[in-house]
Point group: C2
Chain length 200, copies 2
């Protein structure tokens, strides 16, 4: 099948895109508004983008139930990315509803905000890893009215639960990260194999 996005309904193009680029890691992003209200929302257009210095990016569609995140990141230039383990998957999902502006999703999901070290946005106590970030760039990606902001941030602090890490190596069987597939599906990360990069 060959599909030209320019002549295909947008909904069908989107299904192809999110069904193909899988599994997508989840950035569970916590922010705070200038009025001090916490916000928490999951994003799967998320990944690391640079190793030195460590940077991550995530994209916010203006149609998402995540407009508070865009507003808070733009106003404070700070955010925290929390990693989603199997244990907190259902709570993460509770935060993905389209709540009214100003609703604190920590309270909705029963997750615990903890003060960060270097940024004002709180981190999620229940997450196995949290990364405090400062915004490097925000890019308006889409020319269409819906709009998408790509947020690029530098990690200024890592918080890692002691029991999942040894000599900076995170044990994936203890992290138990989940990732986003197409539709309503998620993938676990327990089913793994190893490939050694060839020496040339």
């Amino acid at each position: 099948m060959i599909v030209d996005p320019a002549s295909t309904p947008q909904r069908d193009v989107y299904k192809l895109l999110i069904g193909s680029v899988v599994p997508r890691p989840i950035g569970f992003v916590s922010t705070v508004s200038t009025e001090g209200v916490f916000n928490l929302a999951p994003f799967s257009f998320f990944n690391a983008v640079c190793g030195d210095p460590p940077m991550v990016c995530f994209a916010i569609s203006h149609r998402d139930p995540s407009k508070d995140t865009a507003r808070n990141v733009a106003a404070t230039r700070e955010f925290v990315v929390n990693i989603v383990s199997e244990e907190i998957a259902e709570k993460m999902n509770l935060t993905s509803g389209d709540y009214a502006q100003g609703v604190d999703e920590f309270a909705v999901a029963g997750l615990t905000p903890v003060a960060s070290e270097a940024v004002r946005a709180p981190r999620v106590a229940e997450s196995p890893v949290s990364m405090e970030c400062r915004v490097v760039q925000m890019i308006d990606l889409s020319p269409k009215p819906a709009g998408t902001d790509l947020v690029i941030g530098e990690v200024v602090r890592f918080h890692v639960k002691d029991e999942i890490v040894e000599n900076f190596r995170i044990d994936p069987d203890k992290l138990k990260a989940i990732a986003r597939m197409g539709g309503n599906e998620y993938s676990r990360s327990r089913d793994r194999f190893e490939l050694i990069r060839p020496k040339v």
Copy 2:
């Protein structure tokens, strides 16, 4: 454990980053040089970034064995992202070696280049999905000498194997996408579960 990247060896910071942001989808990127030499290399700092129009991004570290990709993308403003299934995992890994400039990794790995429709870069015949892309932006992310380019591209054609798709929904059990973990590990995407987004 709390880690400040500014006061931690870069190698250890990198281990934390790639062990935490998992599983990362793999963009298997094919390009062609202005002299007509094909290039093929995998990138795990890769994801979708926009749904409308469909866009993807991937980051090229200048230390990676992937300098040909950066050169070709900058010169031609085009690339193809191919999805890596379990079936072609080992061939993908063969292309990740640090080969001399001008080596055609299609030949190294025994993969088949096929002419694209809208771009000059070839696609990988064996991939279940390929996305022909035109560059929207290339961003120099890292101020450090190592350097990292973030490439953002718009998908102008999808190629999807007929047997894995129905009504634009890609069957993940037929796609069998693999993803990158920390170290030398990869994750399959067969171990899944469903969560329904809450109605508010």
